[in-house]
Point group: C2
DNA sequence: CTCGAATATACATTGACAGGAATATTCCAA
DNA sequence: TTGGAATATTCCTGTCAATGTATATTCGAG
């Protein structure tokens, strides 16, 4: 989960993932479209690969990279655990304020 | 989108967000549960706040932090644009290989 | 088997960021 | 009004990661 997020947190890598959403690409094409030097593209792809976000298939000289769905599905699953927050609109703030107040009173009690 | 991801990429901050999923908390409680010193907790909360992931409400001495749904909804929307990839299971790899091959041939043509 | 294209790796440099410690600020209670 | 609790801010330092440059590797064409 963490390696996925930090992989996506880098703007160029996020952009790569968005590029690959429309289909596989070679390293050179990715570097071209992002205006990156080839070594940086390779390095970013390595990080994405280690996070499981992409996989590579060699074809002669080229390396074709494509998306792997699993990490994005994981992210989706994680997100879904928050979904009730904006669906049920359940803040628990007032509840929490009451608890705070209670603990104040408890603190004031002289046993 | 980027500030959201880089905010969540830090393990302690991700943990804070998960804590707040169950309801609002004060800075001190967050620091306690994560085993952080108070200043680091405040700093992480500042980053989360700037990313719009949390909001704060002062109550006397304390600051109560709670989740804001919007950024997570944005992330969800972004993810959903990838959903067809693992639903339709459409790789486009063979398609892409054909294109590669065609461009090879085009390169070979003697006009 | 040699050349050039495509890609990966190594190395050095620089900048961002997380953690620690100290300090400032705000608020309530006595 | 003084003291202490809760929180934010500042400064310093070390570490990590992104970039640029150079080099190694692999492959097909001729």
């Amino acid at each position: 989960m963490n390696s996925i997020l930090s992989a996506l947190a880098e703007p160029n890598r996020l952009h790569i993932v968005e590029l690959l959403r429309d289909g596989p690409l070679t390293v050179g094409e990715i570097a071209d479209r992002l205006g990156l030097h080839q070594p940086q593209a390779s390095k970013h792809l390595r990080v994405l690969s280690e996070a499981g976000l992409v996989e590579m298939q060699p074809v002669a000289n080229r390396r074709i990279y494509r998306l792997r769905p699993q990490p994005l599905m994981e992210l989706d699953a994680w997100l879904s655990s928050f979904r009730r927050i904006w669906e049920e609109r359940f803040d628990r703030l007032d509840e929490y304020l009451l608890e705070l107040q209670k603990s104040e009173q408890k603190h004031d009690d002289k046993p």
